[in-house]
């Protein structure tokens, strides 16, 4: 009944009734992400290091449910560190994995491109989850381009069963060809549950480590030779691709052929059934040229069905295969079976009953009791320019708060504000703040802060310390004092950290003490030196946070609607009376509104 799904819920074990069923063996209903974790576990993975990011987070969370004696699992401060940890583990002879969302792969890219040259000791798998439709992301990049750019083979499963089997096979593939392997997921694969058969863990003892400078030290003399190795390796894998078990042809005796991969295969299967032939690519780079050319010869017309960029389509054309692709489809968002049916066969979708009036949108909002609400209320009131970042607090851009001015990527709130201040001058800088969460600050905010100090900026940075990584569903981070397995560990002291890089003005303030918080922000932004405000209050969804009762509006209310400026989902105008009311089913009794009301008309009730 609680909406936050725990990793244990991803692995509910079900015995399937055999007498009436189509499935008579032990099967599990697993989230794609949980199946990736199971595949890595079965492959005998020794180490997993990741940074959370929707839709990839649950892979690493699930990894931490396997015994610590068998696999070391950690949250790293960012994806670059995570990838490097995995690379080191691989060179050290262990099987290693690192998981991230698509934009995390950008952060990971630097080590990954050179890891491609070095190759592996123990198998190394990098799992990236793209987000077509941008359910929870700031862009819609297609990570398949990275496979080609870094010259690393990429597998793409289409359901949970393939998530398990491909992940497992990826480790073998990695060792067979001396290459890291990319595993690409998309939201609907990561976050759909389907049936899988689970197996036992295969032990792969950590291999011997041998010092090998030509292979492991990438400086020009060595890297020049390794680049030649990479090009040779790519040819070998491309040849293997035409015979590998990941790429399959399903001939239904049709004149029409469909080349597809990942979730788009499942949509195509549902839409087109056995009316077409399929060439399903489980390995999306390098492309299986022989296989594709043979397939093309067996059909009169070939369609490529793939979400986002025309990656397969352009490769086919480069091979001289004539295909139809994005002429019929879009590069935006997700596909659906109905869209495919219409594009290929011109078949109309099922009739639908449309409401006769406009339906108000329901965008995501900060939760009732969210500590960020107090911060944004003050920033908006003071009319400051707010350089934003990635996390729940990006929702500070949503009306009525609408306080955030910019959001680019993890950490950019700090560094972009520095750039803004430098071009617009001191007066502007006094009206500018950066807001960044505790986890995001550790990820890549601290480097921006170093830049501000080093290059004589005067910015004010507000660290929104809610004691957890919020948006991705409550992961621990270096500031929480706990590891992914919940063990107590040394906690990064944000105050000492900021002081250490040269910030002299550091204030800790509670964003729910609105008056005090406002004073602190005014004071710090007015200064001619850089400053940090640590806005400290835990996420309202943490189990340790125990708000009780709820708030009520008393007869002292003069209907000034000041409380409505908070943008709290529990406070709204009653349509008939035009007065403010608090919905007790939404209110969690955090009490922020009681401090905002100028007439003391809101009170707490048990």
């Amino acid at each position: 009944m609680f909406y936050r799904a725990s990793p244990s819920l991803h692995t509910v074990e079900i015995s399937v009734g055999s007498e009436k069923g189509f499935y008579n063996r032990m099967k599990k209903l697993l989230l794609g992400n949980a199946a990736v974790a199971q595949g890595a576990y079965e492959a005998g993975v020794h180490l997993v290091s990741s940074y959370p990011g929707t839709p990839s987070t649950e892979i690493t969370e699930c990894m931490a449910t396997y015994p610590a004696e068998e696999v070391f699992v950690e949250w790293a401060p960012n994806e670059k560190v995570a990838a490097e940890v995995a690379i080191g583990a691989s060179i050290g002879g262990g099987r290693a994995m690192s998981c991230c969302k698509h934009v995390g792969l950008n952060v990971m890219a630097d080590p990954l491109f050179t890891h491609s040259y070095i190759g592996v000791g123990g198998g190394a798998v990098f799992c990236v989850a793209d987000d077509p439709g941008m359910h929870s992301s700031q862009n819609e990049q297609d990570s398949r381009h990275y496979a080609r750019a870094a010259k690393i083979p990429m597998l793409e499963p289409s359901d949970s069963a393939e998530c398990l089997s491909y992940t497992k096979a990826a480790f073998d593939l990695s060792e067979q060809f001396d290459t890291p392997v990319l595993l690409r997921l998309t939201t609907r694969v990561s976050h759909s549950q389907s049936l899988v058969e689970v197996g036992e863990r295969e032990e792969h003892p950590v291999k011997n480590y041998e010092k090998n400078i030509p292979k492991h030290v990438m400086m020009p003399a060595m890297a020049i030779k390794r680049h030649a190795f990479v090009e040779e390796r790519t040819l070998k894998i491309a040849d293997y691709a035409s015979d590998c078990p990941f790429n399959t042809v399903e001939n239904n005796g049709s004149a029409i052929g469909v080349i597809t991969a990942g979730i788009a295969y499942q949509y195509a299967k549902e839409a087109l059934g056995d009316r077409v032939n399929y060439c399903k690519l489980g390995m999306v780079w390098p492309m299986p040229e022989r296989l594709l050319k043979d397939f093309a010869q067996s059909c009169e017309k070939i369609y490529v069905i793939e979400e986002l960029d025309p990656f397969i389509e352009e490769s086919c054309r480069a091979m001289g295969i004539e295909v139809v692709g994005k002429e019929l489809f879009t590069m935006l968002g997700e596909y659906t079976p109905a869209m495919i049916r219409k594009a290929i066969f011109g078949e109309e979708p099922a009739p639908a009953i449309e409401p006769a009036e406009a339906i108000p949108a329901r965008p995501p909002v900060m939760c009732a009791g969210c500590p960020h609400r107090g911060t944004f209320y003050v920033l908006k009131k003071l009319g400051l320019t707010v350089s934003g970042d990635i996390g729940c607090y990006t929702l500070g851009a949503v009306a009525p708060l609408a306080a955030v001015d910019t959001t680019v990527c993890m950490g950019a709130s700090v560094s972009a504000a520095h750039g803004m201040a430098k071009v617009r001058g001191k007066e502007f800088a006094h009206k500018l703040v950066s807001v960044i969460g505790d986890s995001t600050f550790m990820h890549s905010g601290i480097t921006g802060l170093v830049d501000i100090v080093y290059n004589q900026g005067i910015n004010t940075v507000i660290i929104l310390d809610n004691s957890i990584t919020g948006m991705t569903g409550h992961q621990d981070n270096p500031t929480t004092g706990k590891t992914i397995r919940g063990e107590a560990t040394r906690q990064v002291d944000l105050i000492q950290l900021c002081r250490g890089v040269g910030i002299d003005r550091i204030t800790v303030a509670d964003p729910f003490d609105v008056k005090h918080f406002e004073e602190v922000v005014k004071q710090e932004t007015a200064c001619d030196e850089p400053s940090v405000i640590i806005a400290q209050r835990p996420c309202a969804l943490l189990k340790s946070v125990k708000y009780t009762g709820h708030c009520v509006i008393t007869e002292k209310c003069r209907n000034c609607k000041m409380c409505m400026k908070l943008g709290c989902p529990a406070i709204s105008l009653d349509g008939t009376s035009g007065t403010v009311r608090i919905d007790v089913t939404q209110c969690n009794g955090c009490g922020l509104c009681t401090g905002v009301c100028p007439f003391g008309a809101i009170e707490k009730e048990d």
Binding site: M1, F2, Y3, A5, S6, L9, V12, E13, I14, V16, G17, K20, G21, F22, Y23, L29, T54, H135, S136, R188, H191, Q193, S194, L195, Q266, Y267, K269, E270, T336, P337, A338, P349, A350, P351, A352, I353, E354, P355, I359, P360, A361, R362, P363, P364, V365, M366, C367, C392, L395, V398, A399, P400, M471, G567, S572, L573, G575, D583, T585, Q586
Partner: protein, 194 residues
Amino acid sequence: MATTNRIMIVGVGGQGTLLASRILGNAVIRQGYDVKVSEVHGMSQRGGSVVTYVKYGEKVHSPLIDKGEADLILAFELLEAYRALPWLKKGGRLIVNDQKINPMPVITGAAQYPESIREKLGASVNLTAVDALSLAKEAGNIKAVNVVLIGVMAKQTAIPYEEWVETIKTTVPPKFLDVNLKAFELGYRLKSDK
């Protein structure tokens, strides 16, 4: 079973649609079906519209449901039921929790919450409206709205009562089992007013 059954669960992030979809998914695989459950995580969960799809049958390919194709929609909130209406197939059934949660555009006055949604839905589809919030309170926790609604839906399926109870026992955390079993019971035993 040659055809695929398509059920959509819609609501507001935080209402517990995810657990409801998992109970349903686990209940149908106990019956030996192939099943796919598509969930929403991340930003959309923060008080936004949330949609999960549950599809089961002999073999399920796409985890998504297109417009005009849902056999049943289980809606946790009136506006979300109205929003999901185009996904219901002709002759499909809609179960709705008779609760209003104002979205932010309504709170800020940028939009109006449509009037008489329940009546409008009743006029165009086979509707069961339930005051799941009161029943959840009766069960002991207002957050058990999701399991009350699963109970109402369970009654309309061919899956036996005992199978649902077993599924709930294996799906919900032990700490909340009693409340959830009571919530299920209240939903299951509810006499439909339609």
